[in-house]
């Protein structure tokens, strides 16, 4: 085969992408090695997160040097992540389904591009600006009208902000799918005497169900990894499982950020290593969720196929 320098050079450039991903996984695993050994499996099931006494001499536990009293459990953060993302999905799905239906079917053609652009723009507002809005607008509202303690920070605030951030993902996925439903299907439903809303709800929505679920899973992946907005409004609870909508929580992602300073002061580096293990856990969770979304959406092109 002839040597083609141009093709080889762009190939090498494109190989940098897998290389970066491999490097991310490799270094996270390599760096967290000792932490994985030290933390064992109860890492996932323990509630208590304790950096130990950072000012005493480190003790050696089964060959690994750690601060005395150090104990790393991330159950609270896993619970916080699942609770806030799950609740966010519960809020976001009805909102985005309704918005997508209205946008695709009820809005006059002239203003439709403008409105759909507005929905897409929600997705590009930086996370930290959502957090700022959460602190100045949402938290006082929740504190005044909903929270029994008058403190708005917590699970509900985090879920609402997350829901707003992922709504456009679900809504635009569904909106695009609804526009692709074949005309014949709509018209036959109309011909049977269905009202316009029944056409949408009973003839069109079932056709795009898989696409919708794919969009929801994709949004879930985004919610699980969301960091700044959650960090700013979640109240940063540690060492206690959330018990109500107003409990302070930490998600895995927000916890990694909030621990930077204390982890740096650990002379044994064990907490930095453990944070690396936590980042690895987050990576694996989002990988699994995104892969599911990918599988769903690749099988969900059936609407387009039926059209041809």
């Amino acid at each position: 085969m002839k040597f083609r320098p141009f093709r080889v050079s762009v190939l090498l450039l494109s190989l940098l992408i897998p290389a970066a991903l491999v490097a991310v996984v490799f270094f996270l695993v390599a760096y967290s090695g000792q932490a994985i050994l030290f933390n064992g499996l109860h890492f996932m099931t323990q509630i208590s997160w304790n950096l130990g006494d950072l000012y005493s001499d480190p003790v050696t536990v089964s060959g690994i040097s750690v601060p005395p009293g150090a104990n790393y459990g991330i159950l609270v953060f896993i619970a916080g992540t699942l609770a806030s993302s799950g609740l966010a999905i519960l809020i976001a799905v009805p909102l985005s389904v309704g918005a997508a239906i209205f946008l695709a079917e009820a809005v006059p053609h002239r203003i439709r591009p403008a409105l759909s652009m507005l929905v897409e723009l929600v997705a590009v507002v930086p996370s930290v600006v959502f957090g700022l809005w959460g602190i100045t607008v949402l938290i006082p509202l929740i504190g005044r009208y909903l929270s029994p303690s008058g403190n708005g920070y917590g699970l509900l605030a985090a879920s609402v902000v997350l829901a707003l951030m992922i709504t456009p993902i679900i809504a635009s996925t569904l909106y695009d799918a609804l526009l692709q439903v074949p005309k014949e299907n709509r018209e036959s439903a109309f011909a049977l005497g269905a009202t316009h809303f029944e056409v949408v709800a009973k003839a069109m929505l079932p056709m795009v169900r898989t696409t919708l679920i794919g969009g929801i899973v994709l949004a879930l992946g985004r919610a699980l990894g969301e960091t700044m907005a959650v960090l700013m409004v979640s109240g940063g609870g540690i060492n206690i499982l959330p018990t109500s909508l107003f409990s302070p929580i930490s998600t895995i992602a927000s916890f990694i950020v909030s621990q930077l300073d204390s982890a740096e002061s650990d002379p044994t580096n064990m907490s930095v290593r453990t944070l690396s293990e936590i980042a690895l856990v987050l990576f694996l969770i989002t990988l699994a969720v995104n892969a599911t979304a990918k599988l769903l959406s690749s099988g969900a092109l059936n609407v387009r196929k039926r059209q041809s």
Partner: protein, 290 residues
């Protein structure tokens, strides 16, 4: 007239129920759309009102000290982080996009595409932590411009590669064939024919990457650090300030002046991000690139 009147009389209870449910359904859907758009409007409104009120000449001419004075260091920091991230990401992303579009219709291309999507879906904080253990701890660079720019570049490259690929694919094949028939080499075909024809899409990708870079926070916390001073020209061993840091830390301070700085920073960031995204959508509306 009489026909419709008699139809109305003939409406059964079931029909009425169906019509009512349909009406209620539309109302609910309309409300949902309003609830999706209203927060955006409120965010833009709140940030603009507070941000514009906080704008002053001092903002652009003085650096922060503590939580007072201006934002010069943060504005400059965001600018240079974005600049160097783009310098790294644009050649790699466009090169990768060229490979995927022109020569990537095989198994290897599929694998690269899949892994690129995995990288896109990876939370930015995970990338930030990776950069922290490799560049800050491993290489001993400390919080620095180099670490920040490389991290942001890793974040942008997959987007850029994917958008470039999509843009190049919309160039019709006969154009390539015509160029090859004239005796053009691979690189001539790509640089003189395909890329110019797809330039709008490629520029779109680069601009969206720029918007991501300006609005990103989490990975920078672990790589850029924070500095009260403007850049001294060093790539390592010197922390850099950036605008999004001001937003998330200054808003937690008790005094009004810190809040004003946070809003001003948020206003600047939002202005750049929204301006880029609106412009891109108006120019290449629904080409399915974004």
């Amino acid at each position: 007239m009489s026909a419709s009147a008699s139809l109305k009389v003939a409406r059964s209870a079931q029909e009425l129920r169906r019509l009512t449910i349909s009406k209620l359904g539309w109302v609910a859907c309309g409300l949902a759309l309003a609830l999706v758009i209203a927060p955006l409007v409120d965010i833009v409104g709140v940030v603009t009102v507070h941000g514009v009120a906080a704008l002053s000449g001092k903002l652009f001419t003085q650096t922060t000290s503590g939580t007072a004075n201006g934002l010069l260091n943060a504005i400059e920091g965001t600018f240079i982080i974005t600049l160097f991230a783009m310098l790294i990401a644009v050649p790699i992303g466009i090169g990768a996009g060229i490979h995927l579009s022109e020569y990537g219709k095989n198994r290897l291309g599929g694998v690269i595409r899949f892994l690129s999507d995995v990288l896109t879906g990876t939370p930015s904080i995970v990338l930030g932590y990776f950069a922290y253990i490799v560049f800050i701890i491993g290489f001993g660079w400390g919080f620095s411009l180099a670490a920040a720019a490389i991290t942001i570049a890793i974040l942008i490259v997959p987007y850029l590669a994917r958008i470039t690929e999509l843009a190049l694919q919309q160039v019709p094949n006969p154009m390539r064939e015509a160029a090859y028939a004239l005796g053009a080499k691979d690189h001539t075909v790509v640089f003189k024919v395909v890329l110019p024809a797809a330039s709008a899409g490629v520029i779109t990708g680069a601009l969206l990457g720029l918007a991501i870079s300006v609005g990103e926070t989490a990975p920078l916390i672990y790589t850029a650090g924070w500095s009260d001073f403007t850049w001294d020209g060093r790539f390592t061993h010197a922390p850099v300030a950036y605008l999004t840091y001001v937003i998330w830390t200054f808003i937690d301070q008790p005094d009004a002046h810190s809040h004003a700085l946070a809003y001003a920073a948020a206003f600047l960031v939002m202005l750049v991000v929204l301006a880029i995204n609106i412009a891109v959508r108006l120019v290449v509306r629904r080409t399915r690139l974004v």
